[in-house]
């Protein structure tokens, strides 16, 4: 299992992530890049604030990576998550997956981001002109 997992308060660099997952055995790389959108449900977003329960978040990210390696013939898998204050256009998350064939890369990448959003203890606060909301906190 060849995994690179990080929670960082510095800007995430896509090119570095791709360079890390690429191997001579790779035929396809799928990369998911989350970006801070300027609006939610029609409301202008000023910035996002991300907070992580870091040791547990890393552990949960490791678990997801382990599952991905069990389910698909993944070569290398990278999961980077940003914390702190992010402006519109900045990158909260990058998932990069290299495989011999593309189907596994797409499926593993989607599995990782979908599961990350369900299980990894990281929280996002949307800050608007006139208030703020912890996303998903209330029904």
């Amino acid at each position: 299992m060849n995994t690179e997992i990080k929670i960082s308060n510095q800007a995430l660099e896509v090119q570095q992530c791709i360079d890390w997952v690429m191997t001579p055995e790779s035929g396809g790389i799928d990369v998911f890049i989350g970006t801070v959108r300027n609006a939610t449900k029609g409301k202008q977003v000023v910035r996002l604030e991300f907070e992580a329960y870091e040791p547990m978040a890393l552990k949960e990210m490791e678990k997801i990576a382990t599952q991905a390696f069990e389910k698909w013939p993944v070569q290398k898998l990278l999961v980077y998550h940003r914390v702190g204050v992010l402006d519109v256009g900045e990158i909260p998350v990058i998932i990069a997956v290299s495989c011999a064939h593309r189907d596994a890369a797409f499926e593993a990448c989607r599995f990782v981001i979908d599961t990350l959003k369900q299980t990894v203890p990281i929280w996002k606060k949307e800050v608007f002109e006139d208030g703020e909301t912890w996303v998903a906190a209330h029904p």
Partner: protein, 79 residues
Amino acid sequence: MKVNVLAFGIAKEIFGASSITVELAESSVADLKTSLEKSFPKLKALASYLVAVNNEYAGDDLLLDIRDEVAIIPPVSGG
């Protein structure tokens, strides 16, 4: 038993602190939740919340030890 409880996201705002100490008569996760919901009724208004013990999600039956790292996990929203 005294338990130190870490809080994140909206739980931190509900507690007004990033960690609080709770005095428990019974020591299960369920007991902790009952006690917290009594002190902080806003917890019950959340879509859901979980308790993590030593960096793992914990079931209601788990008994807490004084050395455990306990945390309240409101609905996650990373990514």
